[in-house]
Amino acid sequence: MIEVEHLYKTLGNNHVLEDVNFKVEDGKIFGLVGINGAGKSTLLRLMSGVYKEDAGKILYDGKEVYENVEVKKDIFFLSDYPYYPKNSTVATFLDFYSTFYDVDINLFNKLLKEFKLPLQKSINNYSKGMKRQLFIALAIAISPKYLLLDEAFDGLDPLARLIFKRNLIKRLEAKNMTVVISSHSLRELEDICDSYGLLDNHKIMHSGDLLEDKENIHTYQVAFEKDLVKEDFKDFNVCYFSKLGKVIKIVIKGNKDEVVSKLNKMHPILLDVIPLNFEEMFVYEVEEKGYIDHENK
């Protein structure tokens, strides 16, 4: 289990993380989301032992990670701009990583074939997406106990994303891996994540089970005989309100049945419940914090 407790980190004069707390259970995929500059990459660097925390603890099965070789043996960190030795080919690239990690060479080669990567070409000449595919193949072939992925879907085409997700899930089941993955591709995260954390204002503003949370927020499309305004819904936990003619689109947090029951008491002439996807959930969360206004959404 990964436990992050009261984590603080300052870079220069910038307080990047302040009192960050969350847990990731073994065998789960944890999605780390947040706007640009929220501190996701810094958090992953701290979790991989690249940076030393200013205060707080990052524990893997109760052991701290920074300068702890025993813990690091179980972790593989794939950063947003992963490094490879200059003028590497796939063979020399593999040489480097297999010096430090147990790489399943057969699986690595199989994944390279799936991604259709040219093996003889210098990695310098790979496109951004091809480099990402190479590193993803490596990460899956290492199958560490803890896999930390920063911007994992960045640069991947839809087919590569599918191959990645399918293989990650397979290895997760086979090896009981725990994955922490940051990405802006929330639709992709939604497919694979069990839980998530929303990093905002230097801390994890919200974390929880993705399915449970999705059950707890919905879009309600309603219409009434009377001309209602936003203030008429003050008893609800409203995240978003818009009105077009008599039709009101309103996003409300809370148990669906309870919300529907309360809305029915207002005698609507129309009531539709539309589930939200992860991306919409994220947008409404950050909108609540004031990052997006209605016009820009």
Binding site: G12, R45, S48
Partner: protein, 362 residues
């Protein structure tokens, strides 16, 4: 399929070692193959004979070795000056100290092999050509140069480790090459103004510089190798003996402190500083004010023409150079903190007071 990490880095460095070896062998051995090795005797026309003695050209391999010791730390520190590389290297399941020691070792392997090959192939060429030098001296000189190169290499590694970018790493190495000599030169000249003579060595004011072992070795080895030829080498060693011992001791201390500094730094340096401004106390922060003070001492005491206008111009030039160096090197911005100007004014004021005292004493 995990293999030993030292073996991996040695294997990775080997193609580079081969290329450097070929370059060194070509440079040194071509010099030895084409140089004159005979003593030329000529008559000045009045019955007096003069001799022109050949040079051993051992300075060529010493210069090449010094260049390698300067460049190799830069080549081997890439991983600590690149944000992307540091993400990978710091996340590896290996102790920082071990990784640093492996890179130090592999770096010296990149120096040792090319130097040794070129040196001994060169020796065989000289033997084959029947050069009239003291060939046995080549063996102890080899070991002396190995010692000198380890010391110079470790010292350079330390200066490089204090920088956060490659450009700063080069600048720190260069600054430390000259700063020792300038300290010596400036102080000896400045104190001369008070009638105090601190001349220790044979007029060559480099003994505080990490490169001095190499410079003195070139002169000393050449004279020793020619010693067999009579007067060519006579007395030269005596001229350099004190400086040679001093510089070896100074460099031994530098290397010891440097290794300690490297190990201390690798435990305490923050990885997030890679590619950021280098704000080490061993860097611009200290070096630029020292250089400012030394330059003021040097220019005004040694080279001043006595003309008030030209002296003022010298002051303006030095102060401008200090400000520009702060902007260009340390802060990479036109705006530099007020503290740097305050330091400049304090140094200038101290210097003017001391200079006035010197003039009063005289």
């Amino acid at each position: 399929m995990k293999i030993n990490s030292t073996r991996y880095f040695i294997k990775k460095a080997t193609p580079y070692v081969v290329i450097i070896s070929i370059i060194l062998i070509l440079c040194y051995c071509l010099t030895l193959l084409t140089m004159n090795i005979t003593v030329i005797k000529y008559d000045n026309g009045m019955g007096v004979f003069y001799y022109i003695y050949p040079s051993s050209n051992i300075a060529v391999i010493i210069v090449l070795l010094a260049i390698l010791c300067f460049v190799t730390p830069l080549m081997n520190c890439y991983y600590s000056k690149d944000k992307n590389a540091i993400d990978v290297y710091s996340a590896l399941p290996i102790k920082k100290e071990k990784l640093v020691n492996i890179h130090l070792l592999v770096g010296y392997y990149e120096i040792f092999v090319p130097f040794t090959l070129a040196y001994f192939i060169g020796l065989f060429i000289l033997l084959f050509r029947g050069a009239p030098f003291d060939m046995l001296s080549y063996i102890p000189f080899y070991f002396i140069m190995i010692g000198a190169s380890i010391m110079f290499y470790i010292t350079n590694c330390f200066f490089v480790s204090r920088a956060n970018t490659m450009l700063d790493a080069v600048m720190f190495e260069l600054l430390y090459l000259i700063i020792g000599s300038i300290i010596y030169l400036s102080f000896s000249n400045f104190l001369n103004g008070f009638g105090i003579d601190i001349t220790i060595t044979s007029t060559f004011p480099l003994f505080l510089s990490p490169i001095d072992t190499f410079i003195v070795s070139g002169n000393y080895f050449n004279s020793s190798l020619l010693g067999k030829l009579g007067e060519a080498g006579a007395g030269v060693f005596e001229n350099y003996k004190v400086e040679y011992i001093l510089t070896y001791v100074v460099n031994f201390i530098y290397a010891g402190l440097s290794y300690f500094g490297i190990m201390y730094g690798c435990k305490h340096d923050k990885n997030e500083n890679a590619e950021q401004r280098s704000n080490s106390w061993f860097g611009y922060k200290t070096m630029l004010p020292i250089l400012l003070a030394l330059s003021l001492m040097l220019i005004s005491v040694v080279y001043s023409t006595g003309n008030i206008m030209s002296t003022l111009l010298e002051y303006v030039l030095i102060l401008s150079a200090y400000v520009i160096a702060n902007m260009a090197l340390e802060y990479r911005s036109i705006r530099i903190p007020k503290s740097r100007y305050i330091v400049m004014v304090c140094i200038l004021a101290t210097f003017i007071i001391l200079n006035s005292v010197a003039n009063f004493v005289n």
